[in-house]
């Protein structure tokens, strides 16, 4: 047991005494980050506050896609279709059925989960390239038909009035941050508990997972449900941020944008996804402001190039690049890791 105790206590248990000192610079860094996210936006005028909120919405949607692509190894090129379901159902529940915003939020998460679950059932039979095609076709069908159904205003969309508490764009931004924090928490617990481990095992090797007693199909579906609930929340925020929702913006470009920020941000790296979403969603707004709209098209063209470069050269994405920082921020040393793909460790164990 001696070795086990030492390892459980973590290799640097001797340094624990110094932990208070070690945490001072880290806490300071967290403070700066918090101030930037919480205090700086107070200075923003309405338009930019909305863009920041939209950034948070896309971050949540990307975290959702990360559950599917990153943890479960399932592709979705129709993720905007699930976001749309959350958006339309929450708006519908609030506007047509006179429910409160909070009921709408719940309905958004639930409906997203159900829609995604249905796709999960398809994914049990249809895999890989063909699943990509089905999700793509679903996204298009959702945009052309589902979101123009009679109950959703036949193409004219649905009103999504914000509750009094969130009427201000700054208030809405902070609320979006709270939802993001919630999603990050659930994502963390997902990864660090039974479900996440089972989903990862299924991704890497279904036979091994089954021989560990993991019901493979059920955990695939669980991954779809978790992802759907996350993106349903994002959809709800999307609808109420704009005050109404119609099928116009919920298109294939959005699906690809989500794949882009998820993959370039870094699969299985929430920190990388958040950082890249912030850069890629919020920055172009300012570029557009200062240099004109055409420049944001060029930026749009830059995205796919980044995606290909990431796929070819940096499979770990931004998350891999910022690992020294994230490791340091969470109490570890500031150490440059080698890319996961190229790890070639020796035989010897830890000292």
């Amino acid at each position: 047991m001696a070795v086990a105790d030492a390892v459980l206590d973590h290799p640097d248990s001797a340094e624990r005494a110094k932990s208070v000192v070690r945490w001072i610079p880290r806490l300071a860094a967290w403070g700066v980050l918090a101030a930037f996210l919480l205090v700086f936006p107070l200075s923003l005028e309405t338009f930019h506050a909305q863009r920041w909120s939209l950034g948070v919405v896309f971050a949540i949607a990307a975290l959702s896609l990360n559950v599917l692509i990153g943890y479960a190894g399932q592709i979705s090129l129709g993720h905007q279709g699930f976001l749309g379901v959350g958006a339309f159902v929450s708006a519908y529940v609030v506007t047509v059925h006179q429910q409160t915003f909070w009921v709408g939020l719940l309905a958004g998460a639930l409906s997203g989960a159900v829609a995604s679950l249905l796709m999960g059932v398809v994914a049990l039979r249809v895999r890989g390239l063909y699943l990509a095609l089905v999700t793509l076709a679903y996204g298009r069908m959702a945009q052309e038909t589902l979101f123009n159904l009679g109950i959703f205003g036949k193409g004219s969309g649905v009103e999504a009035p914000r509750p009094a508490l969130l009427l201000g764009d700054h208030a809405f931004y902070y609320f979006s941050l709270v939802v993001l924090a919630g999603v990050l928490f659930f994502n963390w617990r997902f990864v660090r508990s039974k479900a996440g481990r089972a989903v990862s095992a299924v991704r890497e090797n279904e036979q091994v997972a089954a021989s560990y007693g993991i019901p493979v199909s059920r955990y695939k579906l669980i991954a779809f449900v978790v992802s759907g609930a996350f993106v349903g929340l994002a959809g709800t925020l999307y609808a109420f941020l704009n005050g109404r929702v119609d099928s116009q913006g919920i298109n294939f470009e959005m699906a690809l944008f989500l794949v882009l920020i998820t993959v370039v941000g870094g699969l299985r790296s929430p920190a990388g996804i958040l950082v890249f979403t912030a850069l890629f969603e919020v920055l172009p707004t300012y570029v557009g402001d200062y240099f004109g709209i055409r420049w944001s098209f060029w930026l749009l063209a830059l995205g796919p190039a980044l995606l290909i470069i990431t796929l070819v050269f940096y499979p770990g994405g931004v998350g891999q690049q910022i690992k020294p920082i994230t490791s340091w921020m969470t109490g570890g040393p500031f150490r440059v890791h080698h890319g996961e793909q190229f790890v070639q460790e020796g035989v010897s164990g830890r000292p």
Binding site: V3, A195, S211, G213, P215, V343, E345, G349
Partner: protein, 258 residues
């Protein structure tokens, strides 16, 4: 009552009879060996027992229950633990994470409670971690706990795999060529570890093994398969000197030479 009772199993793939009327038993605390030339159907038999294949005929009984029709993961939950010829591990995860994953059926909280971070899940996670470390200590791998599996040498991976299967808390341990990739020295040590594990954990073992000295040293009973048929069975010494077994292996060697 036998822990494992494979009764008259047959399986065909297209026109090929992969297994024909094979019966195998493992009594409690026995170490049973399964030998035979390549392509004899040993791994196919493993796959029939654990549920990866559904036999055309015959029954598989485990702990007195007929499990022939139930899915893989339920058999695993009942206590069937197996290793794979090509190292069955989650290679992107660390050794410790693999052992925690392997305890899946021992986790009492629900998947949903875990995701929501419910109160009881945190303490239980600690217990899972603790148990994983105990097992790693038992097999002498604790120093590798935080290493990613993908970077480990092949022989070490085989050991980690066995540790992970032990973490499932099996009633029967089914090993598919556990010493492949090990030298004679290492496989000798492995035999000692296996005997110790049986004593300490009260395990029944069924193993596919090519290393004849190891089989003779640790097995209580041996079955020999050839072309999907049971060639002979009995005490290791008797099987080893059985003329047909000798011919079967000789034939294989002759082919390898040719």
């Amino acid at each position: 009552m036998a822990v494992l009772d494979v009764d008259d199993i047959s399986i065909r793939f297209g026109g090929l009879q992969a297994l024909g009327n094979v019966s195998v038993k493992a009594q409690e605390l026995e170490i049973v060996g399964l030998i035979g030339p390549n392509g004899a159907g040993k791994t196919t038999l493993f796959n029939c027992i654990t549920g990866f294949y559904r036999p055309n005929d015959g029954r598989v009984r485990f702990l007195g229950v007929d499990v022939t029709e139930i899915p893989i993961h339920q058999r695993a939950a009942m206590g069937m633990g197996r290793t794979f010829q090509q190292v069955g591990l989650v290679k992107g995860a660390t050794v410790l994470e693999n052992l925690i994953t392997a305890q899946h059926t021992k986790v009492e909280y629900s998947a949903g409670a875990g995701i929501l971070g419910a109160g009881n899940t945190w303490a239980e996670e600690k217990v899972l971690r603790q148990r994983a470390m105990e097992i790693l200590d038992l097999v002498g791998l604790a120093h590798l706990a935080h290493r990613r599996v993908a970077g480990l040498p092949y022989g070490t991976m085989k050991n980690v795999e066995m540790a992970a299967v032990l973490a499932t808390d099996p009633e029967i341990l089914m090993l598919d060529e556990p010493t492949s990739g090990m030298g004679p020295e290492e496989s000798h040590t492995f035999g000692d570890v296996l005997l110790r594990l049986r004593k300490e954990l009260g395990l029944t073992v069924l193993m596919i093994e090519h290393h004849v000295p190891l089989v003779v040293a640790v097995c209580d009973y041996v079955y020999c398969l050839n072309f999907g048929q049971l060639l002979t069975e009995g005490k290791p010494e008797d099987v080893r000197t059985h003329p047909e077994v000798v011919t079967a292996y000789l034939g294989e060697e002759a082919e390898e030479v040719a």
